[in-house]
Amino acid sequence: MTAQLSDKSVRGAVALRGARLSYGDRVLWDGLDLDVAPGEFVAVLGPNGSGKTSLMRVLLGLQPLSAGTVHVAGGNRRIGYIPQQRAVDSSLTLRGRDLVGFGLDGHEWGIGWRGRRARRAKVDEALAAVGATRYADEAVGLLSGGEQQRLRVAQALVGDPRVLLCDEPLLSLDIAHQRVVSDLIDRRRRAAGTAVLFVTHEINPVLPLVDRVLYLVDGRFRVGTPAEVMTSATLSALYRTNVEVVRVRDQIHVVGAQHVCEDEPHHVADED
């Protein structure tokens, strides 16, 4: 791990060097070195308030580091962002294709009248890639949570991102839809070499996809493969209490640390 982190010549999709984030006296994390290679899938785990969402904000350029450096390939315009599914007002005048279109150029000024034919082709392609063509013209608020999250994936991918930030995207989805959405993310990173940072309170739905884990607890953190990090010894050291990691078939269960797996998810925009 240390050898890999000290190698500064390798610039991956994401590189954090000696990153520190603190609010006043409270240090969320310090000395964080993290390189994420193109196509790599990194799960970001940890209890509430451990700075997972703040890490997202740092990578998105919404939050400056207190110390250290952050590098994101292609700048923050080449980041795709997938939030958790949330209820959408059924009366909202917004179709699936509009939601996806925002991922392409929603941040640009003007009306966007020029180049709308090319835009439509790109949006159609992104919709087809996630199997959302059938309901692309329906009101977003009338779609199921799983259908909405597929649109979210299309929205994040339509801008051809080099880095994909996922903030609890599987939350409130049933297992079948969790599979659909995580498979879409997996396919993308393998096909296009997009690096994935996946914030989650539940590692099991994505465990087969995870290359490495970043586990944050109270300013302490560990980076490594699931086999390295998700052990009783490592997590006990992180939580500074006796934590038992139990493997049941293909699943990992963490016992003993309250709120290890049950913490409340929150959102990049909620803190504004």
Binding site: G106, I111, V268, A269
Partner: protein, 279 residues
């Protein structure tokens, strides 16, 4: 009452300059209100619009009292209101109560100003309910100039504003200046509201800004179609409302709101196509 729908009287009145000015003002307003409306509805700002209109009334009443153009007074009042309201985030749990508190105070002030005003009483009434004669040619140029300014700014910020209005989490993540846009938009709404006050009066601005957009949202999920429909509905309501009000000499707003509400009812009735029920 027998001249309620007197066609020849209506045609006669159309020959007057002030009536034509009113129609031009109405058409410009319909366009502005129709374009802003869908965003106002999406951002759930109906009550904020109402509050802004009440403060436009306060500004207008103050202008009457000191003897300057009502248009400028309404504009000043509603821009101040919009800035106040725009600084309150849509997430703020107490936004509604803050608007309520501000508008109640503003309305009270307006009542005081009107009480102190010793001029024509029709001017007082017109401020609340709209009056054909209240649009003079100076006001008309102010209205057209302000409308053009509103539309230019709206065109510049439309895409990120729309993004932030429907999808605030991802818009924030993509670097859209969500807070700034919401203040700018509140000011645009404030200007448009002040302009509407001159035609439909402070009490009934919602009939131009909210009702057409709400009606449009019942029949289409496409933001572009909803905007086009909202403009059409607002134009029909304001122009037909003005024409109908000519012969009986009833305040404009009575007919504008009636037409607007009728369109809304029809759209609600046919809006079932959007529902996914049974699919």
């Amino acid at each position: 009452m027998e001249n309620f729908f007197d066609l020849s009287l209506t045609l006669d009145l159309l020959g007057y300059g002030f009536v034509r000015q009113m129609l031009i003002a109405g058409a410009v307003l319909g366009l502005v209100a129709g374009l802003l409306g869908p965003l106002v509805v999406t951002r759930k700002m109906a009550f904020a619009v109402h509050g802004t209109a009440e403060l436009a009334f306060t500004g207008g009443a103050a202008a009457l009292l000191v003897g300057v153009s009502v248009g400028y007074g309404a504009l000043a009042g509603s821009v101040v209101a919009a800035l106040l309201l725009g600084l309150l985030s849509r997430r703020d749990a107490d936004r509604d109560s803050v608007i309520g508190a501000i508008l109640a105070f503003g309305l009270g002030l307006g009542v005081l100003f009107l009480y102190l005003y010793k001029g024509r009483s029709a001017n007082k009434f017109g401020l609340l309910t709209g009056q054909i004669v209240s649009v003079g040619s100076t006001d008309l140029w102010l209205l057209i100039g302000s409308s053009v300014a509103v539309l230019v700014v709206l065109a510049l910020i439309y895409r990120p504003l729309h993004f932030a209005s429907v999808d605030v989490a991802v818009a924030t993540a993509r670097g859209v200046p969500v807070r700034t846009l919401s203040v700018v938009f509140a000011v645009l709404v404030g200007v448009a509201t002040a302009l509407s006050v001159q035609v439909v009066g402070a009490l009934l601005v919602l009939s131009l800004m909210i009702t057409p957009a709400a009606a449009a949202s019942r029949v289409t999920a496409s933001p572009v179609k909803a905007t086009v429909l909202a403009v059409v509905f607002a134009e029909v309501a304001v122009l037909l409302g003005i024409l109908l009000s000519l012969a009986p000499g009833v305040p404009v707003s009575a007919f504008v709101t009636a037409v607007s509400f009728l369109i809304y009812l029809v759209c609600r009735a046919f809006g079932g196509t959007r529902s996914r029920a049974g699919v």
